[in-house]
Symmetry: C2
Amino acid sequence: MSLVIVGSLAFDTIETPETRKEKIIGGSCAYSALAASYFTDPKIVAVVGSDFPSDVIDLFQSRGVDTRGLTIEKGKTFHWEGRYGHDPNQRTTIKTELNVFQDFKPELLPDYRRADIVFLGNIDPDIQEDIRLQLVCPKLVAMDTINLWINIKRDALLKVLKDVDMFFANDEEVKMLAGENNLITAGRKLLELGPSHMIIKKGEHGALLLREDFIFGTLAFPCENVVDPTGAGDSFGGGFLGYLDKVQSFEKKHLRRAAVYGSVMASFTIEKFGIEGLKALTLEQIEQRYSEFNKLVSF
Amino acid sequence: MSLVIVGSLAFDTIETPETRKEKIIGGSCAYSALAASYFTDPKIVAVVGSDFPSDVIDLFQSRGVDTRGLTIEKGKTFHWEGRYGHDPNQRTTIKTELNVFQDFKPELLPDYRRADIVFLGNIDPDIQEDIRLQLVCPKLVAMDTINLWINIKRDALLKVLKDVDMFFANDEEVKMLAGENNLITAGRKLLELGPSHMIIKKGEHGALLLREDFIFGTLAFPCENVVDPTGAGDSFGGGFLGYLDKVQSFEKKHLRRAAVYGSVMASFTIEKFGIEGLKALTLEQIEQRYSEFNKLVSF
């Protein structure tokens, strides 16, 4: 099959209680594509400025990522600055400089339009919708979002949601969008708005996969060494969809495993700053952690 | 084997966004003992006032609970009043009237002292210590606590902790007591303070069982119908220890199953007000939910 990932490539300035990292590589597309690259050869759709280092594009390509959908514009790459408190779930955005990302209106290449699986990463829902309309008979369209869009572009978001198959969102976003405090009830409400699959990301508490006929839960890997939580959700989505693209199946058993592989990839991401944790994993490391998840929950 | 449960019996006045219930039966001992009673015949140690309804004591006895350790004092039963917000994890204590519970200094009956498993439910750590010293060669002593004791009786709490085998606490309490934000690291720190087993309760996110040589995680049952979260943790502990008492084993596989049975019992508790959900379950209902947990996490 084939997987297209649409999202941001960025410079991230990240402050944790221990360290500050200036302008390291980030963005949802970077995390998702690298995580997916251990399962399939994802095609990416993104935009960067002329200041974006070419060795990062080389890295993507060396990991099998198809970068023909990456546009390099004159100007500066998107820059995000955020700060984490002692509780890594508490993140404050300090600065957002959209730069070339401001006019991101991608036109998909012909083979991208015919992708089997498309991941509309967290971007403006109007752009997500625009891309969705370019697709030709996709087997599965997944989308992600953040609370910003729920707050300022709710209608546009609901419009995309109506026509996608899978919605990745965190627990707060699910409750907020559904207007419902019980997470399961909230997830079920969103299933009525379009997507046949809800993937509820719960950070350190794992994730839930909700479908009308079944529910599956995975824990997060018990990491003691959380260096930088940035990109955990994007890595989860990339691992999830990358695995599905590899097995060419949306059967329940594969959806379950996809959720675990997603959690595995997220766990590698947060152990290092930025995309460092996803640069040079071996399949053995991934399989070993997958089997540790099995030990973690089997009874 | 034999299981002794020490804790409170109370009248609880509970307010949720939907309903208010005046002076219904509650207290950690009520929840733990009823939950355990589906696995074994627990002996309880508690105190009530002369206003405590005798039909509740009859209920305990009809469920096989040994009530010889229950003292009925002249005066009023402990009364707790609490309010839940729309987020059931947010609980505010409105009123605490200790009444006869104020002078609770139980002297254990001879056969109680020789119990195999003892659960020191959430009470003043000085009383927990006093009871612990009365025990004769227990196989497993477990304790629970709340943030109140961490705040006002930290030293006494640490003293009991040093000599128990299993510590039940919620995630906030674990982080607070360990002075550490990473939950796994915090749990491991507490393992160094005495107990060989940490059971970290995470409410709607499930529970973690931490031992030096292994870690196990269970999800909470995905309840859409959370009527009253009171007693979930106590029911978890009662189900956990009741199961261990039944199987007479502390092997890893039984500890894992104990955690799942604990989650099963907690899930029945929160579906109704007070102890209603624990009054008349069948073993079939319990086993069925246990197998649903298996479906929930297997991949």
